[in-house]
Symmetry: D2
Subunit: 340 residues, 4 copies
């Protein structure tokens, strides 16, 4: 059993902890955070299913005052684990890395950190092999993770030469009060970082794109115009997407009218938090544009990186050396593709 710790118990950290707990070949040693946030208070109300470690000594009194049991310090957590999943706020990971180095532990960082924090910029499907045995891996961000799933799926079948993407980005998560947008769309400078990041992982593809922020909380939508080496017809693309374990093909005609339908569907499934690990592709969005193929993808920003982070643990710890074997185990333990 690989011993895993989660550092930072926010939107991503909570889901990483749940994801690790589902992997039958991993053991969740505990989670760490710096203060008794609402998420930590929820952990307490749930009866402390996970051990909590205090990542900021000065705040011990805050945990005590809130009646929240603490199992040790962050340093102790690091010591007890084989690998740490760092889901702290952007910039904190770089500081934590020194601690991981001190104890000779491996770590997986999330997309908010700078690329040079890690030995490899990682995506389970696209470059699993590059992560094998590495000490420090950095995941792609939520948008890039989902984007690569779809592009890699096409690329392995017909070869992708070039993509031009439009990211319609959700601006906040449900419950966020520290950021938001009201009745406005906001432009980012082109090309967006997701296209640039994709090229780091898939250097044979020419990628660019435009990102527009929108005042919603449930999932990004990305439109992709892909130039393939071999022209692919809609029906063939559809078939490829349907076979992918981390893609859910949905239809407007069935009631999947947009990102909010997918969130509601995940809630109706009874999924904890209404989370969904799969990206979705709308059947009716797939069209040929000359010899190119165009389609729209939904990215459930809160949970989409969980599977690829599990893959990263498998690669870093060399639990499986074969890409497909590793992906398949992650998928099985997370219950992905069960419904296909």
């Amino acid at each position: 059993m690989v011993k895993v710790g989660v550092v930072g118990y926010g939107v991503i950290g909570q889901r990483l902890a749940d994801g690790v707990a589902l992997q039958e070949d991993m053991q969740l040693v505990g989670v760490a955070d710096v203060a008794p946030t609402l998420s930590i208070k929820a952990l307490k109300e749930r009866g402390m299913p996970y051990n909590l470690y205090n990542a900021l000594a000065d705040n011990q009194k805050l945990f005590d005052d809130a009646g929240i049991p603490v199992s040790g310090t962050l340093e102790e957590l690091v010591d007890e684990c084989d690998i740490l999943l760092d889901a702290t706020s952007a910039g904190v990971g770089a500081k934590n890395r020194k601690l991981y180095e001190k104890y000779g532990r491996k770590a997986v960082f999330q997309g908010g950190e700078k690329n040079d924090i890690a030995d490899v910029f990682f995506h389970g499907y696209a470059n699993y092999e590059k992560g094998l045995g590495k000490q420090f891996l950095k995941l792609t961000s939520c948008n890039t993770t989902g984007l690569i799933r779809a592009v890699d799926c096409l690329d392995r079948a017909v070869g992708v030469e070039k993509i031009a993407i439009t990211i319609i980005r959700r601006v906040a998560d449900p419950g966020d009060y520290h950021r938001g947008l009201t009745n406005a769309l906001q432009m980012d400078k082109a090309p967006n970082h997701q296209a640039v990041d994709l090229m780091t992982i898939m250097p044979h593809i020419d990628a660019t794109g435009i990102l527009v922020h929108t005042p919603v909380t449930h999932g990004h939508i990305i439109t992709i115009v892909a130039t393939t080496k071999k022209k692919i017809e809609k029906q063939d693309a559809l078939r490829l997407f349907k076979e992918h374990q981390r893609i859910r093909v949905v239809r407007i005609a069935d009631g999947f009218l947009g990102n909010a339908s997918l969130f509601r569907y995940a809630r109706d499934l009874g999924n904890p938090r209404g989370d969904m690990y799969e990206i979705a592709i709308w059947d009716e969005s797939i069209v040929n544009s000359g010899d190119d193929i165009m389609f729209a993808v939904n990215i459930p920003q809160e949970a989409v990186v969980i599977p690829e982070t599990m893959d990263a643990v498998r690669a870093a710890m060399e639990m499986q050396t074969d890409r497909l074997e590793a992906l398949s185990l992650t998928n099985k333990y997370l219950g992905m593709g069960r419904w296909k």
Copy 2:
């Protein structure tokens, strides 16, 4: 075991089914709907934990085409149950009532129906006794249900003479595409129906108020200015609210910044769908206004009526004749107040 059927498997119907399934002294016979909606498709993806009955014969082919197993017709469901929880669209309940009458079954209707559909307009806390043994009960709507919880709590302690309320109403549920509001507040004619409905159930109180629709999806907020028979200080009101099993007192200082914090907290608790049965009252919102008391309540519109509907089954079926005994059982099976 009282045999219960749920008619209409939408936002409320799904949650009623889950709520009944948790009551150890009730048996969920099944749920009925007219078409393979997304909610029904989610039921199938979950492996059909509940039996499904088809409420519209003409649509049987749609269920077959979607590969959804059907256990019978709505009429068969009615025949097999002691009591039906009707959560159909407004107006349909009146039609269904004839079917319930044909089989001599009892039924509980939701707030969207007209009052004259039922023998009694019901609220578990405020008038449990009036529902005892009745054939047809109608629940209060989500806002009124939550409002009465808070007002009844004060009323039993110090007597409430008059309330003036402002309802800041969420305009759609997450996933709704058939209604919505964009960058606008919308006025309703005063007095709002919730104040009028409250007076039907609590006729000794003079109630009025103004309702404003807002473009959000997670919970209504109601401010209440209550004139009490005996002046009540903030600390005493706070104590009363904290003791109530269906009220959660929260603090802005703890991170409960608004309705979206409560939704996020319920998700972090791992509650299915991120649902919460309790209304919330903000500690920092409670202020005296002369001899009156003013405070703000959050109403989780999707789940708030579930406990009171369970109470209604208990009353109609005379499972408990004592109000507090009935409420206490509902609360226990739904896990309410566990965290206090």
Copy 3:
């Protein structure tokens, strides 16, 4: 002086009336509507700068009760005009067309009507000549009008072969309560009608695209991936756009952060209603995608069709037979390009 009447005094109709009033070679005979709406009440509060005609005899009492002076019936307005600008709700124009035919009058319909209502589907820049002398013209819708401006600009310089567009559509106008979306993005079936419409007017271009509705009110944003006959570099595209009289090139660096900045800027200009006739293109959005060019356009949905409708009057009435001469007069009277 060409005598012009405006039928339908809603969002578009009001702006058409103002636009006609600014054309020194046209005379606004009056405007017609069916009831004393808020827009008509505003006309009254302004002191009736335009004559009002009643388009629904049965409603004369409503106008009288509201104290709004009426100059005649719709039929009388038609009789007094050379050409009618029909800005009624979708579908009504088809009915009105019979009235225009009865009096042998010309008419320009807006984008909501079906294409077969008119002799030609018209855009001032792209196919002015086709409108010359025609009796019935139909304008492109707001998105298509703005889209064609940008595409035609490139097409005349370097030839456009193919476009793939993503429309990020605003879902309602400011003040709309009859439609809206709350915290949701909504998908349309691809290809969107704007791409199809563009091909009707520019049949040499292969166009497709995806449309996503967003919960905002101030302007659509369209991203365009254009395959040109001759590769065009960013700086050259930028220069072309800057020279265009109906395009405003803006920079994020200057504070034009999104669609809402443009609305605010138009308000700060003191433009009546905060309207803007120009589409905007963000400098920082223009990027090459291989040999293609990609960029983002803002469409001010309420006012963007006014200039092209003025062009349509010029074409239908053969006021100018030369395209550039006509466009130039429209621009001059509307004050477009003045600031370049």
Copy 4:
């Protein structure tokens, strides 16, 4: 002619400048700002109708680079004026005050500054006399300004003893990207500062209330429960409000469905920027609550303080010593009540 300068040319400053320009007994010397913002760029595009003064010497190059003509420094503007209207960001006014003192000039500060910046906390209707001849006046904030108009109107007629208010606050102005809220309502600690501020100006009234932020941009809505010395019936309150020059009584039945209808109506009136100086009260919102009266007010946050700031100039400069005479002149020059 009283010489007036406007310091800070943002949302409020622009409107103050326009307001001063309309007062026939005042002369707008110029406006000052620290950088070529979008609002300043719009001023340039309009052809510099107002002289611009540079408030930050270091930024002169920015103005030059943007081709914006500058008439002098802030200090020169102060020197040339009798009174300055300070509409700078919160906190800057305190610094500017020293400059005004150096030149012995008077100044009116906006609601964002601390109360101790001024000799008197001012509202034209409620305490005009207190401002007479004072050097430094501070206006109430937008919500408080509108609130006091309505409460003062009732107070002068029947005496107001106590109010309990609920402020449904818009969270950003159109075009704001530096603040926003997405799909969330946010609570403030009670009592809100508006109630506290009102008591500073109207110390005989006991005021408290709750404020909730909502994700909209067009106008706050306040519900007021007022306890009056003498009971007032709805029809009498309605008559008082209708007679008030700065209140516009509107009806849902006429199409004024909410705050966005009022914004649209102001745009339809052709008002520059779609601004409205009046607060609105909905006829159908007025209800008796026992002996109290309850109603809902709309506050157009961008323009509502302009009239009271003009009143402040009149008081500080002792242009009129009689309250009603002063208010009446402000109203006349701003065109208020013209439509009654």
